[in-house]
């Protein structure tokens, strides 16, 4: 007898204690079992969890990886991020369409394959890449893609997709029995902090010998600032969370690196998970949290079993759980929360919403998470790399850490370098390193521009290559995408806008509507139909979106337009046309008349020749 939606939902909800805050996990389990979260499942979930069905449907439809309609048994998600497209993702895409006989967004008639695009799956250094369900397939060419499809067709019942798809394991822990992935670390430069040799748990031992306030003081003295991009002082964040009166506090690690072109946390999670969990434990001790969450982006689901195993080993070793390291009363444990394909959840309040089983909408501030965060309790949200700095600060001393980098930007920074260069990968460099130095290291020859900080950062031209990567100059979460001669910065800006349009939560007007309008006008200019006034239009509109948006996504989404207007204005100007007297530029009279004719079912007299082909 086939499992009905009701019985599947009942079992799954029971396994999560009928806790609606675990809705994201519940939905992922339901989808794994039933193939989708259809109407019957939504009704059953609403009844079981005692919540409105419209709220369940709202969550399902928010996340890219969840679906209400049945998809193929194998969902192929081809990454269509800029670095992937630079390396031929479009050719892989048409190869897959041809081989499967379907277009993107469709499912094969036999129900075996669904073909989709994914925003950025964190593999820009080994692009083009795709996800086949949870399995990452890097360095994908059109031929290889066809072969893999063929392989699956011949073994449609294969229980382990990895066995079919992964020919050769990647380096380091990518070959671990619980990972078995073809992903390569591409760690090009290990620095003094994250990827250096160290004594495991020395930082934790030192921290537990101090008072929590003293730990925070050490982190403040080291002048550690957040590595996710915003650069907020970590010690101050912890102090706020610690100061908030509450019976429970939470420490959340943001492993939702979704900024296109970023993949540094992938390498940390693969090669330094113990360092990360040690850092989370110290942070938990510092702020007085007994519970921690690791929000792992859905694209990194292939690392989940491995990370769970690391957690289990730490529990067995007394490094997690109760009375950690024999310290009476210090309890701390970590739960992994898997995301489901939503870039916005990297924003800390949206991430908290997502952990609570809600749509990934950012929350209004105040209250700030340090006052009222996860489940209404004081919460500190820190980036993976930030937390990895903490054990090292405790182990080596805050003075040691502060001596690395520049005065206001201490420590090292991990950079995810991709695009037109010969050595793509992760570089750990001291903060304050000049961009030109990194370009030299990665083998970027005579680059035209570099996108620093991903699409929400800025596109920097050659005139600015002497600038420094640090909080006061080129502040960045670490994504550097190199563009060589022959690339078109404007076309890239348009692709980045498409990304933001896809990833906006839609809560506030300027981000929901404004980004669409920006792209419309940029596309018009790219099509050679723009006029001079369009540049002012873009500048003003971008300013409105930046100023009025509610969260960091909308406040930075116009950056691709603004920074190209600043650094590459001649490229815009070269594309502008001067409209005929009394005409609006880009207005194609014949095409409009043809459209009107089509809609009304009439042939416009005298203009028949114009747009018959439409």
């Amino acid at each position: 007898m086939p499992t009905t939606a009701e019985t599947a939902v009942a079992t799954i909800c029971a396994s999560f204690g009928h806790d609606r805050a675990r809705l994201l996990d519940i939905l992922q389990s339901v989808q794994r079992q039933l193939g989708c979260v259809g109407d019957a499942a939504i009704d059953a979930l609403a009844a079981d969890l005692g919540m409105p069905r419209v709220d369940v449907a709202g969550v399902v439809s928010f996340y890219s990886f969840l679906t209400t309609k049945p998809r193929g048994r194998i969902v192929i998600r081809l990454c269509d991020d800029v670095p992937d497209r630079m390396l031929g993702a479009d050719r892989v895409g048409s190869g897959l369409e041809e081989e499967l006989g379907i277009r993107f967004g469709e499912t094969t008639p036999d129900g075996l394959f669904t073909l989709e695009h994914a925003s950025c799956i964190g593999m820009s250094d080994q692009a083009p890449a795709a996800l086949f369900n949870d399995v990452v397939v890097p360095n994908l060419g059109p031929g290889a893609a066809r072969r893999l499809v063929d392989e699956i067709r011949q073994h449609p019942e294969a229980p382990d997709l990895r066995r079919l798809l992964v020919r050769e394991y990647g380096d380091g822990q990518n070959a671990h029995d619980l990972v078995r992935s073809a992903v390569q670390n591409n760690l090009r430069r290990a620095g003094e902090v994250i990827f250096a040799e160290r004594t495991a748990n020395a930082g934790l031992a030192k921290a537990l010998a101090m008072s929590p306030a003293e730990v925070i003081r050490q982190v403040k003295t080291a002048r550690l600032r957040g590595r996710g991009g915003a650069g907020f002082p970590t010690g101050m964040k912890w102090e706020f969370a610690r100061a908030a009166a509450s019976d429970q506090r939470y420490l959340i690690c943001n492993a939702d690196e979704g900024e296109p072109g970023t993949f540094k946390d992938r390498v940390i999670l693969t090669e330094r998970p113990d360092l990360l969990f040690e850092g989370m434990t110290i942070a938990g001790y510092a702020i007085g949290a007994s519970r921690g969450l690791l929000y792992l982006r859905g694209e990194y689901a292939y690392l989940r079993d491995y990370l769970e195993d690391v957690l289990a080993r730490r529990r067995a070793a007394g490094l997690l759980g109760e009375n950690i390291c024999g310290k009476p009363g210090f309890d701390f444990d970590v739960r992994i929360q898997l995301g489901a394909g939503a870039y916005i959840c990297g924003e800390e309040t949206a991430l908290i919403s997502s952990c609570e089983g809600l749509r990934g909408d950012p929350k209004n501030r105040p209250p700030f998470p340090a006052q009222r965060g996860y489940l209404g309790k004081p919460t500190a949200v820190n980036n993976v790399e930030t937390l990895c700095c903490v054990p090292r600060i405790l182990e080596m001393g805050s003075g040691w850490f502060a001596s690395i980098g520049s005065r206001k930007s201490t420590g090292t920074k991990l950079l995810s370098v991709s695009g037109d260069c010969t050595r793509r990968g992760v570089y750990e460099v001291p903060l304050g390193t000049r961009l030109a130095v990194v370009l030299e290291m990665c083998g970027a020859e005579d680059p035209l521009a570099v996108q620093v900080g991903g699409p929400s950062g800025q596109m920097v031209g050659a005139a600015d290559f002497a600038r420094e990567i640090c909080f006061d100059d080129l502040a960045t979460g670490g994504a550097l995408v190199v563009f060589g001669a022959g690339r078109d910065p404007l076309a890239i800006a348009a692709q980045y806008l498409a990304f933001f349009i896809h990833e906006s939560c839609g809560y506030c007007t300027p981000c929901r509507v404004g980004n669409v309008l920006l792209k419309e006008r940029l596309d018009r200019i790219l099509a050679g139909a723009g006029e001079a006034a369009d540049l002012d239009y873009l500048q003003t509109l971008a300013g409105t979106v930046k100023t009025a948006s509610r969260c960091g996504l909308g406040q930075t989404s116009p950056n691709p337009v603004l920074s190209t207007l600043r650094s590459f204005r001649p490229l815009y100007e070269a594309r502008l046309t001067t409209p005929a007297e009394g005409r609006q530029a880009g207005f194609d009279l014949a095409a409009r008349l043809a459209e009107a004719g089509r809609l009304t079912g009439r042939r416009p007299v005298g203009f028949e020749a114009g747009g018959e082909s439409r």
Binding site: G58, F62, I501, T509, A548
Partner: protein, 238 residues
């Protein structure tokens, strides 16, 4: 014990406020109009339309969600912010399909009234002309999603005042849409035409059926005075 008074400055004018108030609550009491759309008296602030954006000590903030603090310097009626708000109202128009000339809400519509107050004769942005399905399944209420501005006033009023959960949102980004708590449509929910959720709609997205033009155009709320005048000169109101 009375709570201490806070003083803040709005466009150079010193006004009083109480701790815990939002900027919008304080300016309303001081008869200063900060334009707003998704805010509604009696509902928790939501902060989605951004029309009430002000500058607080130079930083843009939504007046409806930002609490007052002593000495804060607020900019409200400046050229920059008027232009910004006009842009936002413009965006709400082109995002949907708003045909005021035959909309039964005309004259009572807050979006239309805001456009008039800001002197928008025609939108400055290209129309999106979205295809959105209406829902006429309920005997007493019509949902015309063409006119929905996603302000969540119905969503919140249903939950916070009516004690129901008739409305919610599905999808994200530009595809975000108003949804109802039944697969069969509004007719499958416990919505009632007398719900505050229906009256809460600032536009014609939620309409009570069969009363469309009972009050003729020309004698409607904003036919008498522009939106905001109820705050600027409350004495003039009945």
């Amino acid at each position: 014990m009375t709570s201490p008074t806070i003083f803040l400055t709005v466009d150079g004018r010193r006004i009083e406020a109480r701790p815990g108030q939002t900027i919008l609550e304080a300016t309303d009491e001081a008869c200063i109009y900060v334009p707003r759309l998704c805010w509604m008296k009696g509902l928790l602030p939501f902060g989605s339309c951004r029309v009430c954006t002000v500058r607080v000590n130079g930083r843009p903030q939504a007046a409806c969600t930002q609490p007052v603090t002593p000495g804060m310097v607020v900019e409200n009626d400046t050229e920059e912010l008027r232009a910004l708000r006009r842009d936002l109202i413009d965006m709400l128009f082109v995002e949907g399909n708003h045909f005021c000339m035959f909309c039964a809400k005309s004259g009572n519509c807050e979006l239309q009234a805001l456009a008039y107050r800001f002197g928008i004769a025609a939108p400055g942005y290209p129309f999106a002309f979205p295809q959105r399905a209406p829902d006429a399944s309920h005997p007493g209420i019509l949902i015309d999603r063409d006119r929905c501005v996603l302000c969540a006033r119905c969503v919140r009023a249903s939950r916070e005042i009516d004690g129901k959960t008739v409305f919610g949102f599905v999808h994200r980004g530009a595809a975000k849409a108003l949804a109802v708590n039944a697969a069969a449509g509004l007719g499958g929910t416990d919505a009632d035409a007398a719900d505050r959720a229906v009256a809460a709609c600032p536009t014609g997205a939620l309409m009570v059926k069969r009363i469309g033009f009972a009050l003729p155009v020309g004698r409607r709320v904003f036919d008498h005075a522009p939106i905001g005048s109820e705050i600027e000169s409350p004495a003039a109101e009945k």
